[in-house]
């Protein structure tokens, strides 16, 4: 039996216990209106304890998956030995971490990144860090805010990949904790809790108490959305949104399933003006940046902002789903929430769907 019932006080003091042994991240309010995953020990001085918003916070500025795919990660270091031969060393040292308070949408984001980085030639930097990352996720009971559309995107009930999964129960201040892995079983040992004998029943009760529908809904079911995005070019819709797009890349950089990167090679200048030692690192990139698809001769394969907007939407609903058989938009709402010019992928998708049904209706009329 790996299910336990406890209250928020116990969960909080358990977090502090876990944080003594390894870096422990959880969502903490920023100076403004947002949240950010921060190290518990760093915030301890300011926050005496108590994280009332742990299970109700608005999705963080950056998704927790970025802790596994950090910006500026060193891919290798090198130096030239006395014979002038290059010697290489692996990237940075990877230490274990716990990320806690992960919403189901972000849990799915991490699950999708696992699929991407283990596909084909494996990306050992991501996979090693992922192996040392332990996850405490939870079930959302209410939509986080007006931007959320996780149910529509099919990630509301996502539970795979968490070492421990928390469900707030109907009874106030009671939480069901399920250990879903051997590491989860190990971690939960230090929690003061009573064993739960009827987890399935309690969970069902909790889930059925959620509002329905949960958050915003697409005008079509998700399977249909993918088909429409795949089949129709809908240039007009993309163009409409592109007109007010800054091509600033924010939507990409805050997305839990955007993983494109740029590499950067750096060297220390030796006395003979040579490049005797240095590193290769990778940095988050954005396909909305105009230069993203430019080749050596100067030809840009996606020079038009509408083409870049379409590329982003299709990656989430068409391209990557073709490769991995899952929708790559988790419905977390970050891109729409953080876009300064109010471009929301949810609206684009709905507009494409509506414009297509109009077109189909017109064709039928003829």
């Amino acid at each position: 039996m790996n299910a336990y019932i406890t209250d928020l006080n116990q969960i909080e003091s358990w977090f502090f216990k876990l944080a003594e042994k390894q870096p422990f991240f959880l969502p903490i309010k920023t100076e403004g209106i947002n949240y950010r995953f921060e190290k518990l020990n760093d915030v301890r001085e300011n926050n005496e304890q108590s994280f009332p918003e742990l299970l109700s916070y608005k999705p963080t500025l950056l998704p927790p998956g970025k802790n596994i795919f950090p910006d500026g990660e060193i891919l290798f270091s090198y130096y030239k030995d006395e014979q002038g031969h290059y010697q290489f060393t692996q990237g940075s040292n990877i230490e274990s971490q716990i990320i806690s308070g992960i919403r189901a949408c972000d849990l799915k984001g991490i699950h999708l990144m696992d699929a991407v980085f283990s596909d084909g030639i494996k990306d050992i930097h991501y996979l090693q860090r992922r192996e040392k990352t332990h996850i405490i996720a939870f079930n959302c009971m209410t939509p986080c805010d007006e931007h959320c559309f996780c149910e529509a995107a099919g990630s509301l009930d996502f539970q795979t990949g968490a070492d421990i999964f928390i469900t707030p129960l109907v009874e106030e201040n009671k939480f069901l904790l399920e250990a879903q892995s051997s590491i989860g079983i190990e971690l939960i040992k230090t929690l003061t809790a009573s064993e739960c004998l009827n987890p399935v029943e309690l969970k069902e009760q909790a889930l059925s108490s959620r509002p329905a529908p949960f958050g915003r809904q697409f005008v079509e079911p998700i399977e249909q959305v993918s088909k429409i995005i795949h089949q129709y070019d809908a240039d007009k819709v993309y163009q409409q949104y592109a007109e007010r797009c800054f091509s600033c890349g924010t939507c990409n950089l805050v997305c839990p399933t955007c993983y494109c990167f740029e590499t950067k090679d750096e060297f220390e200048l030796g006395n003979d003006l040579s490049q005797g030692r240095g590193t290769k690192s990778r940095h988050w990139d954005a396909c909305l940046n105009p230069g993203f698809a430019e080749v050596a001769g100067g030809h840009n394969f996606r020079a038009d902002p509408a083409a870049r907007q379409r590329h982003r939407v299709r990656r989430k609903f068409d391209y990557l789903p073709q490769r991995f058989e899952q929708t790559f938009c988790t419905g977390c709402g970050r891109c729409g929430r953080q876009c300064t010019t109010d471009i929301d992928i949810f609206d684009i998708v709905n507009d494409v769907c509506s414009s297509v049904s109009e077109t189909v209706a017109q064709e039928l009329d003829k």
Binding site: L75, F76, Y78, G84, H85, Y86, Q87, F88, T89, Q90, G91, V116, F117, D119, G120, I121, K122, D123, I124, H125, D233, Y259, C260, F261, E262, T263, D265, E266, F267, Q275, R277, G278, T279, K280, R282, D285, C287, F292, A293, E294, V295, A296, G297, H299, F301, R302, A307, H311, R314, R315, D318, Y319, L320, Q322, R323
Partner: protein, 286 residues
């Protein structure tokens, strides 16, 4: 073996093999042929590419220009176009350069063999497009009796930019090989070939249309016009037409996203595509 191996580090796909430069041969003002010795054979297929560069400086995707049986030797033609290629051009014999790969799908020689019923092979190369296609032409020419009639159409901007002319002369001596070399402009230089665009000789080809394999590589602007000309004159099935595309690449592993063409990664699923596949990839010839 002189080339240092990366024994201490296993399976980090970003760490290159260091290959020793055996020969640096300038071909034109901008293009130089590099022949390097690898610590171990690449076992590449024609049409594949490698990531070439120097640690601390950067990398570029470079087509493999040598045939698949070249063992530990690897030939590449590098155009001086940016920072990395500029630095590579400063390298000399016995210097080292970093190589990762081979990457991409490449060609399957079985698709071209006579015993698979392929009577004609048409290869159209514009400018640097000849460089990757040379890795396909070499094994065909080396075992000519295994292949049918070969038609090469090779275009360059001017005579001084024409590549591998000596080798092309040797290919011309082989049975059933028809080679047309063209330049857009003779530009006051000696030229014994023809003048015009690569589209011009296409209609003169004598082909067994149903049993023809056609391969195409060149600058982005070339594809649309060549394909239009082919479609106007011949009835070659789309799955027997191959295009070799160019994209910006950073990782070569199908991860960094820069080379993506609709739902495929050029570095992984390409750079060689059957034309039949491009129906589903509207960005391919964009």
């Amino acid at each position: 073996m002189n080339a240092p191996m990366n024994q201490s580090v296993g399976n980090n796909p970003y760490i290159p093999m260091m290959a020793e430069i055996q020969c640096v041969e300038p071909l034109t003002e901008r293009e130089t042929l590099f022949r390097v010795l690898l610590p171990e054979p690449l076992n590449h297929r024609p049409g594949q590419f490698v990531m070439v560069g120097l640690p601390g400086i950067g990398e570029c995707a470079i087509s493999i220009s040598s045939g698949p049986d070249s063992g530990r030797t690897l030939e590449m033609v590098i155009r001086k176009a940016g920072n990395v290629t500029g630095v590579l051009h400063q390298l000399k014999k016995r210097d080292f350069m970093g190589i990762r790969g081979p990457f991409g799908s490449g060609f399957d020689l079985n698709d071209f063999r006579l015993d698979k019923g392929n009577k004609d092979i048409v290869i159209i190369a514009g400018g640097l497009g000849l460089v990757p296609l040379r890795s396909l032409i070499i094994p065909i020419m080396d075992n000519k009796s295994d292949y049918g009639r070969v038609h090469l159409i090779i275009g360059s901007r001017t005579p001084k930019e024409a590549l591998f002319r000596q080798q092309i002369q040797q290919w011309k001596q082989l049975p059933d090989c028809r080679i047309t070399e063209l330049v857009d402009d003779v530009d006051f230089q000696d030229w014994d070939g023809e003048v015009g665009l690569v589209t011009e000789p296409i209609h003169k080809l004598q082909l067994d249309e149903k049993n023809t394999q056609l391969v195409l590589c060149g600058p982005p602007v070339m594809y649309k016009f060549v394909l239009m000309e082919i479609k106007m004159n011949f009835n070659i099935p789309d799955e027997k037409i191959f295009v070799d595309l160019e994209r910006r690449m950073r990782c070569g592993l199908g991860k960094c996203g820069h080379c993506q063409i609709n739902h495929v990664y050029c570095c992984k699923d390409g750079p060689v595509f059957r034309y039949s596949r491009l129906n589903d990839l509207p960005e391919a010839l964009g």
